[in-house]
Subunit: 157 residues, 2 copies
């Protein structure tokens, strides 16, 4: 059976932004103190996991669009929950804009993301999304351990 491609760039972007809406709800559900202090088993705080997401999404897309391979830093100077939420919201339209500049051909080309991870651009972007789902799932456990009900997994609206 011959197959053709089944996910368009627009659909993948919509899928990602839906996940980002849920990830924002998980961030918003943390109390200020626990966001920056609570963790389990020596893992990073949810503030640090959020900073990782922020330091991958827009910087990664900028690297792809501008064809630059600078390294990345998770060490963002965001010291409050409001600052993290604001950074998250500011990135939303930037992701739309940068993603929209990736051509069909470019998705198929290898790119050495952050000078370290050489894969087709489409796989780099799938990694951004999967990594966000992965760390957000960890945030769900933190919230449950804190006695806080996390949002429903399908709540991406």
């Amino acid at each position: 059976m011959e197959h053709k491609a089944i996910i368009t760039p627009e659909e993948l972007l919509k899928h990602w932004q839906g996940h980002r809406r849920l990830t924002r709800k998980v961030l918003a559900a943390f109390p200020e103190k626990e966001l920056f202090e609570f963790s389990i088993g020596g893992m990073r705080t949810y503030a640090d996991l959020t900073k990782e997401m922020l330091s991958i999404a827009v910087p990664g897309l900028e690297g792809i669009v501008n064809n630059t391979t600078e390294g990345y830093s998770h060490n963002l100077d965001l010291q409050t929950k409001d600052a993290l939420l604001q950074a998250w919201d500011e990135d939303t339209p930037r992701i739309d804009e940068l993603f929209g500049r990736i051509t069909e051909q470019r998705f198929r080309e290898d790119f050495n993301l952050f000078g370290e991870y050489k894969f087709p651009v489409i796989e780099n972007i799938q990694y951004f999304i999967d990594n966000e789902i992965h760390h957000r799932g960890q945030g769900y456990v933190y919230l449950r351990a804190l006695g806080i009900e996390p949002p429903m997994f399908w709540d991406r609206y």
Copy 2:
């Protein structure tokens, strides 16, 4: 700019099976007792999370391929880690086979998964994968809480 689709069914299947290899490693990393007994914050054990994944993947694909909308059950009779690993491995070729029977047109059609979730087939399948990443991320926290080093997130080989 006009975009065309960028992910083929074969690529999506390969992506999923890569994730499934990592998810199997997380399952294998649990000690027998903690797999069935340990949890955090009132959540399900990793055995139960694994049963959920097993009760979605092949049954969901069977529903899509056979156009049946029976409900699903997470309550699989798998009582040991070996039984879970064996079920996981038996599903691997079944997923390949069932996925390969979904036509390009079918991916675009709405399907009322398990009689409950009416979305395009492609979105149903993305949900299977995302849900697995989400719960596996929770397994990482359980392992860390148990003092066990989980596999690397990129280790899908």
